[in-house]
Symmetry: C2
Subunit: 214 residues, 2 copies
Amino acid sequence: MASKKPAGKKVPQTTVSRMSLYYRALKQMLGNGITATSSAALSKDVGFNDAQIRKDLAYFGQFGVPGRGYEVESLLEAIAGVLGINRRWKVALVGVGHLGYALLAYKGFGDQGFDICCAFDNDPDKIGKTWEGVPIHDIAEAVDVLREKQIELGIIAIPEAAAQNALDTLVVGGVKSVLTFAPGRLRVPPGVRVRRVDLAMELEWLSYHATSVT
Amino acid sequence: MASKKPAGKKVPQTTVSRMSLYYRALKQMLGNGITATSSAALSKDVGFNDAQIRKDLAYFGQFGVPGRGYEVESLLEAIAGVLGINRRWKVALVGVGHLGYALLAYKGFGDQGFDICCAFDNDPDKIGKTWEGVPIHDIAEAVDVLREKQIELGIIAIPEAAAQNALDTLVVGGVKSVLTFAPGRLRVPPGVRVRRVDLAMELEWLSYHATSVT
DNA sequence: TATTGTGAAGGAATTCACAGCC
DNA sequence: GGCTGTGAATTCCTTCACAATA
């Protein structure tokens, strides 16, 4: 449960995302029967500088052997421990519109240890139903359900106007980490972490680069 | 069509995403009848340092008046020009699974000037149908359709295994900017830009932070 | 020989601070 | 007085380069 940081330096924002990529690359190696690797080999797979990879890993411990490299399986476990995916997480979904339903139906989350175990909506036609094995509750009952089921992570997939309410509800229910797809800024209480995915922004990034033909 | 860069310095990676946020904040101001603003006021809305905002804008021109600030409407237009959203873009969607359907159904894209005007899949049950007003073609015919309709942007919403093929097909069809939801690394031809959104990675970011209780 | 872990160097992005303009 | 635009200072991140280790 405890993280493996040896009281080291501050971990850069960017390092965590790269750790996810190392994890994938290593898992694929393991699937291919490769048992040993090196920062140079990983570098080829993920596209970052090899020193970058060594430095990222070093924030969390010493996992390699000088002259030999890394043992794939043990490094995988180490990274899983760092990312907190060597366990299962209970996730609540707020909003079962098209996007919410896509998230419900996406099997990949379960494979990674994320169990969407309840959903909330305000549409009477959906409340009480069970979709993809997940019960849909009235958003008005969310706090009780969240507390009872001890939900730890939340996903917000509703329009911007209702997103702040959804976040506040999740927080009251004990959720401290939230992924949101709603655009717009949220007031985030202290101790709570919100990660935003903004699809329109990503498209705008594309149109910017397509416009200024570099 | 031409971008408004006055042959200035290199634009930081991060600036473009922030421009999208400025755009939203300004649009909201305009909706509220606010006609003038300042970097300090914008700073309150978007949460970045005011100097940051001025510097971001300065990469693309001089839009403000010292002592007075910015005129909301003209700044909006300027940013729209920079981002390339003062026009409409034709977008192709590859993969009409749950996520693809959610993207088809999302009205927000149209509002921002992005028209998903064709979709591709390999499921015979879907090919030939029209969903949300968008015709679904056989992925095998994609190159012809892309060229004929002069599609400029692509969205990939299919599993990892088929993503590379999808990208290659889009590129042959003339698409140079692609947003992908498939995890895993893609071989990207020169001159093509790929932006990746990785939902599992975002959840892992949450679990990391929920684990190492800062 | 091969490779890690890391201090030092280099580069990129952010913030400071202020001259100049309204 | 208020605010922009921008050089300078600072902070943050990446890459280099090498001593240490197997």
